[in-house]
């Protein structure tokens, strides 16, 4: 088929779709995914209501109230995202990429630090974490880059180029320092290459390089006295393997308290009042990084497995979207979002139970924090949009 004709076809379809926008999107919405997201958000709010009840003396719902505002804003972002044609992101991937890199870089100029890391920009009423929004923007932009080279995806040059491009935000985030989020970016990028059809040998090579890097940075480097990571980062990444040999007392303490908190929840949970690990602050960061441990302590195996089930439902439906997507761009965007989400969930939940390295990654839809909640809901909006348009185009064909 001639490329030109294709273009005309595309133009026509776009015209038609714009007329269909509201009704068409609503007709072909992934209601199961939407219900899953709603369930996740509800469980997340429930978790926050318990986890933060004693965080602010005299105001048990301080964090819950704020979190509900974020959910409202994020819900709006989801709705807006659902109705925006993802093709627009593809067309404007360069400005999106540029703006993202600028915003992340901007953190170094005006950002404010918390817990040893500069990730936030204060807007007065809200501290804004560009790297959280950056996850979505990163996927949208780099997918655009790949979509521009649809035919060359799989070529070594393309892969090298997209890696080079992606390295800019990844390194910026890594320098904040926010190793966890940088890894999420990388996971999303690899996922896009994977879904986009990069040959296995490239993926295997990438994986081998990553493995070599990890071994070099974490074990070989320190063994010969070269430290790429800060001490605490190093111990956080390696301590979970042998908690009792952990060199950092803080990390070891966090890990042990987290495991105790999860385990103490038993089947039914200890309830908000009796969850002493949380209530008496033995568990650090129990509203953010270690929210899963705190939630598990309060709600037990029943509550924790309910949350995991909802995650699985959402991820499952989201993964399906990759094969339903209307076009290549949408497909790899969906793949990137799904894997980024999966990666965050695994690393966060896994670290609270001692089977994944400790990183500062928030738990999607649950951790207290506006940037994460809004960005994740917006990403869900993009997924819903991809699904709806994919469905609509199938129906037409």
């Amino acid at each position: 088929m001639l490329e030109y004709a294709g273009s005309q076809h595309a133009g026509r379809r776009t015209d038609r779709e714009e007329g269909l926008a509201i009704v068409g999107v609503l007709r072909s919405l992934d209601w199961v995914l939407l219900a899953g997201i709603a369930g996740l958000v509800a469980v997340g709010l429930w978790a926050v209501s318990g986890v933060t009840r004693f965080a602010v003396v005299g105001n048990p719902s301080y964090y819950l109230d704020r979190q509900m505002v974020y959910v409202a804003v994020g819900g709006a972002a989801l709705v807006v995202g659902t109705f925006i044609d993802p093709d627009i992101y593809r067309r404007y991937w360069k400005p999106i990429f540029g703006a993202t890199v600028l915003l992340i870089a901007f953190v170094f100029v005006v950002g404010h630090a918390a817990r040893g890391s500069t990730r936030w920009i204060s807007l007065g009423f809200f501290t804004f974490q560009p790297s959280e929004f950056g996850k979505l923007a990163f996927v949208l932009a780099l997918a655009g880059f790949l979509a521009d080279r649809t035919r060359d995806v799989g070529a070594l040059g393309t892969t090298m180029r997209v890696l080079g491009l992606g390295a800019i935000p990844v390194l910026l985030v890594f320098a904040q320092p926010d190793l966890g989020t940088a890894l999420v970016y990388l996971a999303a990028l690899v996922a896009m290459l994977f879904v986009g059809g990069a040959p296995w040998r490239q993926l295997v090579a990438l994986g081998s390089i990553a493995l070599l890097l990890a071994v070099g940075v974490l074990w070989a480097g320190p063994a010969v006295g070269v430290n790429f990571l800060k001490g605490y980062q190093q111990s956080r990444l390696t301590c979970f393997v042998h908690p009792s040999h952990c060199s950092s007392a803080d990390t070891r303490y966090n890990l042990e308290q987290s495991i105790v908190a999860v385990g103490a929840g038993q089947v039914r949970g200890r309830g908000v009042n009796n969850a002493t690990q949380t209530r008496l602050q033995f568990l650090p960061e129990h509203g953010t990084d270690f929210v899963f441990a705190s939630y598990s302590e309060q709600r037990g195996f029943i509550g924790a497995s309910l949350l995991l089930a909802l995650y699985l439902l959402v991820l499952w439906r989201a993964l399906r979207i990759v094969s339903i997507a209307r076009d290549f761009y949408s497909a790899i965007v969906a793949g990137g979002i799904v894997v980024a989400l999966l990666f965050q969930i695994f690393v966060n939940v896994g670290m609270t139970m001692g089977i994944a390295p400790i990183t500062g990654i928030p738990l999607p839809f649950v951790s207290v924090g506006g940037s994460s909640m809004i960005a994740n809901l917006a990403a869900m909006g993009v997924l819903l949009a991809i699904y709806a348009r994919g469905r609509a185009s199938r129906r037409r064909r």
Binding site: V260, A261, G265, Q266, V267, T276, F301, L312, I355
Partner: protein
């Protein structure tokens, strides 16, 4: 609109992409399976373990001291009880984190409680050093009402300061029997090292002396426990919930009789005043022991000077202790009030020891009770190469006396002669005085149940050999036997040992174990089994010899030439007893010299003895002057009779 390349081609996911989606799906399932399994392992399989760990994290168990048992007299009158008190506690973890505000708070607290700031700071440092943020520092035990009220009203200014209801020792009779009862104090690290196995823990109160110490195991009860929530920073987050109720201590009933004890203490003061009235300026202390000669139970035990143990109850300050003469620095000036002279004071017994010499001489057939020996003004031993002259207390006497008369008149030269007889004994017949003194319990602990007890000294030939270095001193000389015969020289005894001797003289030669414990009663009144007091044991005295000595003791109080006739001659109850005037080298602040220790020991009624009294007035002069009237006061109180002294006596 620019051509959009991505949409340009009708997109159908290739089989390859679909395959990859399924790979991702499988990976996803595996990841979730791993998470769920781990969750299940932690929460379902080992949940109990982690619940326990979480509990250990957040609960701290605090010891709740048991109310200490009371100490009662033989009629059940409480001598030591507990009084409710409020202590002020400080939780170091709750103090302000900013140095200046913390300092300001501690300063204010120090002023309010009048506890020096350095003491509070030392308490906090001790907790910090032990890494113990959950045990509060007791700033002040027994805080006054105004302090407590001020703290309540200004609680906001004193974060980390709380009050706590406790009990402190209460002494309704103040200084009464202070050295017998003893006091309690916080266990010292040294004590703890030896007692940790018996359940003592840091911060426990423990009896420091007297009955409080001897019967601490009965009195202390069993500490309970309470627990409270603490947070990750060790700050208490809840009140105390009792988990084990403290078991109050048992009451200890003593053989001490409150009325007689009071009388004995008054009598002791009376004796000291008499001595001082006689110009005995150094008479500032003494002891009186009153015991039942049949079983050794002590009815009264007085020691002067004394102190009020309340200084150890509640808030103890060094200043108060110093004023009471209870610190090493101030004790000598106050003549060591904490010393229980009845059991730990060592004195030569003087003539009160003569019955032992007499009994030993009769047993060795050196003396026949009714044969006469000369009583002269002076005596020197023909065997003594130094030709030392020993003087009688009365230089103007020259008459032959039998044993009872010699005892009654307390003839020294009579006993010097007997003593010389002992010196002349062939060595295969041993040292009979020392042997008998040993049998009467001298030179050893009496086994009394309050300590620490001094054992005293019975000088022997072997002791001289060991104790001295020069050849002359190592040698046992006639003078040693002569002085021993009259209870002088190196012989040292405690008033309690003397009381025990006179109990044996009174009860027909049975040596009793003196004791203050009657029984132990649990808070609900049930008797608690205690180790039995050893039964009196026969010393093995010839009854005829004993009878002669008893007659001598009776004569001493009833015949006109008897040394305490003036006191006991017209006493309504028949009392027998012996005076003693023992020379002792005394070292007082600013004085070193010989002082007469005033003794009187005896018993009554003569025919069926019920009470032995032994009185000692330190540096009190003649036994008849100070000790005998003091002892008579005790008998008067015991038999509920009045007496009057017949006239001045200046006798041995």
């Amino acid at each position: 609109m620019p051509p959009s390349k991505g949409v340009a081609e009708p997109y159908r996911p290739s089989a390859r992409v679909l395959r990859r989606v399924s790979v991702l799906g499988v990976a996803m399932l595996v990841i979730f399976a791993v998470l769920l399994l781990r969750l299940w392992a932690l929460q379902v399989l080992s949940g109990t373990k982690y619940v326990n760990q979480a509990a250990a994290n957040s609960f701290r168990t605090v010891r709740v001291q048991a109310p200490r048992g009371q100490i009662l007299d033989r009629n059940g009158v409480p001598l030591v009880t507990n009084a409710p008190a409020t202590s002020i506690l400080l939780w170091p973890a709750d103090l302000p984190k900013v140095y200046t505000t913390r300092y300001a708070e501690l300063r204010a607290l120090s002023r309010l409680t009048s506890v020096p700031l350095y003491e509070i700071a030392a308490g906090i440092r001790a907790r910090r050093a032990g890494n113990d943020l959950v045990t509060p520092v007791t700033v002040r035990e027994a805080a006054g009402e105004p302090m407590i009220a001020y703290l309540y009203e200004n609680a906001a200014q004193f974060p980390g300061v709380t009050t706590w209801r406790t009990f402190i020792r209460h002494y309704p009779y103040h200084s009464l029997a202070a050295q017998v009862l003893g006091y309690v104090g916080e266990i010292s690290p040294a004590e703890l090292a030896g007692l940790a196995k018996q359940g003592y823990q840091p911060g426990d109160e423990i009896g420091q002396s007297g009955v409080e110490s001897s019967y601490d195991s009965y009195l202390r009860g069993v500490a309970g426990s309470a627990r409270m929530h603490i947070d990750a920073f060790g700050r208490p987050r809840s009140g105390l919930t009792t988990t084990t109720i403290a078991k109050p201590g048992n009451d200890v009933r003593l053989t001490i009789d409150l009325k007689l004890q009071q009388a004995a203490e008054k009598a002791l003061q009376y004796g000291i005043h008499l001595a001082q009235a006689n110009g005995k300026w150094a008479a500032r202390g003494g002891a009186i022991v009153a015991l039942d000669p049949n079983d050794g139970s002590i009815l009264a035990m007085a020691s002067a000077p004394t102190y009020d143990p309340s200084v150890y109850a509640g808030h103890v300050t060094l200043g108060e202790l110093a004023r009471a003469g209870l610190t090493p620095k101030t004790a000598p000036a106050k003549n060591i009030p904490s010393l229980n002279r009845a059991v730990s004071g060592l004195y030569p017994p003087g003539s009160t020891f003569k019955p032992v010499t007499a009994l030993a001489a009769m047993q060795e057939h050196l003396l026949s009770p009714y044969a006469y020996l000369p009583c002269t003004g002076t005596y020197s031993s023909p065997q003594d190469r130094s030709h030392r002259t020993f003087h009688n207390w009365d230089p103007n006497v020259n008459q032959a006396m039998d044993l009872p008369t010699a005892l009654a008149y307390s003839c020294d030269t009579y006993f010097y002669r007997v003593g010389n007889e002992f010196y002349n004994l062939p060595s295969d017949r041993g040292q009979p005085i020392q042997k008998l003194a040993d049998a009467f319990g001298f030179g050893q602990s009496t086994g009394v149940d309050i300590g620490p007890e001094a054992t005293g000294l019975v000088p022997t030939i072997g002791w001289r050999q060991q104790h001295f270095t020069s050849a002359v001193d190592k040698l046992w000389k006639p003078g040693d036997s002569i002085e021993l015969a009259v209870g002088q020289g190196d012989l040292l005894v405690t008033p309690l040992q003397m009381a025990r001797l006179y109990a044996a003289l009174a009860n027909g030669g049975k040596l009793v174990t003196p004791h203050v414990l009657d029984d132990v009663e649990s808070p609900n009144g049930a008797r608690v089994p205690v180790a039995a007091i050893p039964a009196p044991r026969q010393v093995g005295i010839d009854p005829a010899a004993l009878q002669a000595v008893q007659k001598g003791l009776w004569d001493a109080t009833h015949l006109s030439f008897g040394t305490s006739y003036a006191v006991f001659g017209k006493f309504p109850v028949s009392i027998a007893g012996k005076t003693g005037t023992a020379q002792k080298v005394v070292s007082l602040p600013g004085y070193l010299g010989l002082q007469n220790q005033s003794w009187w020991c005896g018993y009554g009624p003569y025919n069926s003895p019920k009470l032995v009294v032994c009185a000692l007035i330190e540096n009190g002069g003649y036994g008849g002057d100070a000790a005998a009237p003091a002892a008579a006061k005790v008998f008067a109180a015991y038999f509920h009779v009045a007496f009057h002294i017949l006239g001045p006596i200046h006798s041995d």
